[in-house]
Amino acid sequence: MRVLVVEDEKRLAQNVAAGLRQCAGYAVDVAGDGESGLFMAESNQYDLVVLDLMLPRLAGPVVLERYRKSGHETPVLILTARDDKSSIIQLLNGGADDYLSKPFDLGELLARAKALVRRGKGKPQPVLTVGDLEINWADRTVKRAGKPVDLAPMEYRVLEYLASRSRAVVSKTELLEHLYDYNWEKFGNVIEVYISGLRKKVDSNSGTKLIHTLRGHGYSLRAEANGGTDR
């Protein structure tokens, strides 16, 4: 999952980004003003945008309005130091999905961020099940047939993304786009490495294969084996 944090207060942006990276395992980009925030939000595919309201160059509400007007459906979490209800109502009606008043609890911000990402993917359950595979979004643990599966952080992120789009075919480009932040060089073969690692840990001890490769198209996580051709 990839998150954009638009916040002009550098230290706060750093802390939020660090929290999202360390505690939620998300890839995080940071924008320091409204203009670059809007540009980044529109030119990359994010699973969540965390937006401060008082931003230089382009105010938060304007960023939100333009972002929604250009058709983006990514959940937006507003950070605000104002707590007058009317402006919050206006923001929620204007396309925001949730808000947090400063000073906020970082734990609450992380929980809300995870919940928004889940809902954005149409998966409201805290535990995702694909066949006998269980993925717990909250504490980032994976079980196959009741037995814990130990995954490397990056493997977990690949699996989490595939699970969030379960049954759909996810291309390598999409995976790269959603798993790495702006500062990473994106190489497709890295994904292949993680997928093969995941296969070993998730599928090798079980009769049913869940991770499918559709050659030339991408990957899919699903319980039934129709349409998939394995390597």
Partner: protein
Amino acid sequence: MKSSLRKQIIVAVLVSQLLLAMGLTLAIVLYSRAQLQSDFKIMLAGRADSVLAVIHDAEDESKTLILDRERLSIPAGDLFEVWDENGSLIWRSPNWTGVPSAVIASNSPTFQLDHGPVPYRGVVVRKATIFDEEDNRPGRLRKVTIVYASSTRGLDRQILKIGVFATGASLLLLCLAGLFAAYGVSKGLSPMQELAKAAGNVSVRNWNFSPPPEARTKSELAPLVDALEATIAGLQRAFDRERESTADAAHELKTAVAILKSSLQLLSYQPRSVGDYKRGLDHALEDCDRLEALVCGTLSLARAQQWAEEGKADDIQSIDLVNSCEQSVADLQALAQSRSVALRCLADIADDDNDESVVQASPADLKTVWVNLLQNAIQHSPPGSTVSVRVSASDPDHALIAVEDTGTGIPGEHLPHVFERFHRGDPSRSRATGGFGLGLSICKGIVEAYDGHIEIESRDGAGTRVLVTLPALTKVRSLE
């Protein structure tokens, strides 16, 4: 209980009208009475003449005068007496005992008396006349005195009637005038009532003041409308400003607290190495310093503004501006050197003991102003440039301090707002230098508390000059 202005005016109008009506009625009655009395006197004289007309000489030789009663026609109630020159009574009306001798003795032509219960008014007519001129023989000139009185009941009744009529007419007119006054006053005062209502509707929640349009057209109300409008608009601006800066301060404080809180929470979420904890705590301490600086800045701003409103600080003393500026320059040399900026202080005052460079102020306040201005100048100056403070006398009564840099300058669109609280010319840059946009507001607050003036001149990219004018000791002395 509140008294009604409307009622007061109506009562005043009615009282004055009542007085007028009473005076007019009295005048009418008095005038008519005088007129009627004079008519009455003429009538009495006429009747006395008609008595005279029926007097003639007796046929006998005694030459006494007699009165031909057959020919006399006068009203039945009238009283009269006729005396000849010898003082003998010729005739007296039968129902009368005669005029009191005092009346004759007083020689007054008129008199009043009561005949039984009836008031009478009479005249005394003395006439010399020739009666009975017969056979071409000249008659004798005879002197007679006629006393004639008539009842004044009719006269009194007439006066009473006129009085009653005049009073009645006045009262009727008074009632009509009262109604008209009530209507007129109500109508005349209605713009005032509406104005009061409009002013009453104004509150902290609703600043909308809509005075009735006719109130503006009234010369008595127009100044009130203008004053109210100006006051309400001023109050609204002050409230909005206050609300805005409170919101700004809250925003800054909340953000600073959010940073500190998130730093500590981030540290506590995962087990970390001692080195990580140490780094995290250092970060948190930096956040604390920032928060502290913000709180101190907000408080000194509030203090400066309070002084500007209520008067100055306690430790006022005579301060030489050249010394004061030199001290601040020395304090900031380290910061200037770290940014490779030259910092110098120049004095354009000829004599060191000149009062033109001495002001009455608190040393701490002046230092706050110089340090803030110099820090701003240093932070916005490129390495290798110079920041200078120049102390001079703008006129014999005022000292002028100019803080100049050749730095980045302030874009024109920001210039009008630089003295506003929490204003940051370029947010990213100001934050990088740790500013909150409070420094210039604090300077303005302090300078204005000392009846001084602060202004800023800047060209984008060509440097900034801040000019502070303070009243010099010479002026303070001349005022004393």
